[in-house]
């Protein structure tokens, strides 16, 4: 597999995640889309590191940081979603218009 193939694969994953974020109203579905986009970035970093800069393993460090931050983000987002659900009984983003001007 060439570098182009891996980058196009990551791009396909990123666009699927983007579609998920834009098209769904359910907060958990949006979180799923964000996770897909983060993983596409991980593939990209590893592919570039593997093919273009094989000596320093910096791409792996990047991906480890991405995974760690994604775990923190998922924990916070899930607790916020649970709180919203407890207060409203719904997690449709179109119902969350309290701050609309």
């Amino acid at each position: 597999m060439t570098l182009e193939a891996w980058i196009l694969f990551a791009l396909v994953l990123f666009c699927i995640g983007l579609y998920g974020v834009l098209s769904r109203r359910n907060l958990i579905a949006i979180l799923i889309g964000v996770e897909l986009m983060l993983n596409a970035v991980s593939v990209n970093a590893l592919a570039f590191n593997h093919f273009l800069a094989p000596d320093p393993a910096i791409g792996q460090i990047f991906v480890l940081f991405i995974i760690g931050l994604a775990a923190a983000e998922a924990a916070i987002v899930l607790s916020i979603i649970l709180t919203v659900y407890r207060q409203r009984g719904d997690i449709n983003v179109y119902e969350l218009t309290d701050l609309r001007g």
Binding site: L8, I32, P54, I61, F65, I67, A72, R86
Partner: protein, 182 residues
């Protein structure tokens, strides 16, 4: 070559299920399949350590947490009804983004970007440079500050998640209690 194609196919199929299915629990399982495929992709890219972290943290941690959040709160009962117009708009934006980025990727000569010309390392040297030893050395040496900051971030995230989720624990859950009464 075959293996890479198969892994890409699995990941993309799981991702399509994850964004396309109405039932939120099925969508999470689709995400799990996609993440497992990506772990295999990381193996093919030569980094078994990151692949195992992907399995442990993403598949073993994040998707399980999502399944727990959905199943413990009866959120999955609410099927999300998406408007047709919204889906078409989202698809148009995604396809346009893909076309723009793909044209750039295809038009770039990546061989010229390589600083020393790719493939200068022998497989043995590559193995040594990408070993767990090298990662550990880099994490505790050159990226020490970022590494320690990440641990602080994770601690804050855990404390914050518990605080946010437990703040209203005493108040009754209207939907859940209603279902229990029935």
């Amino acid at each position: 070559m075959m293996a890479s194609g198969l892994v890409m196919l699995i990941s993309v199929a799981g991702a399509v299920v994850a964004v396309g299915v109405k039932n939120i629990v099925h969508a999470i399982f689709g995400l799990g399949v996609s993440l497992a495929g990506l772990a295999l992709a990381f193996l093919l890219l030569g980094t078994p350590f990151v692949a195992s972290m992907q399995v442990l943290i993403y598949i073993g941690g994040i998707t399980i947490a999502m399944v727990f959040a959905v199943m413990l709160s009866s959120m999955g009962k609410h099927e999300s009804r998406e408007g047709y117009r919204r889906q078409v708009l989202a698809a148009i934006v995604s396809v346009l983004f893909f076309a723009a980025m793909a044209s750039v990727v295809v038009g770039t000569d990546f061989g010229a970007l390589s600083p020393s010309g790719s493939g200068t390392l022998t497989p043995d040297e590559l193995e040594a440079a990408w070993s767990i030893k090298a990662i550990g050395r880099a994490l505790l040496d050159h990226y020490n500050v970022a590494f320690e900051l990440l641990s602080v971030v994770l601690l804050l995230a855990i404390v914050g998640a518990i605080t946010i989720a437990a703040r209203h624990a005493q108040e009754p859950d209207p939907v859940f209690d209603e279902e229990c009464d029935q």
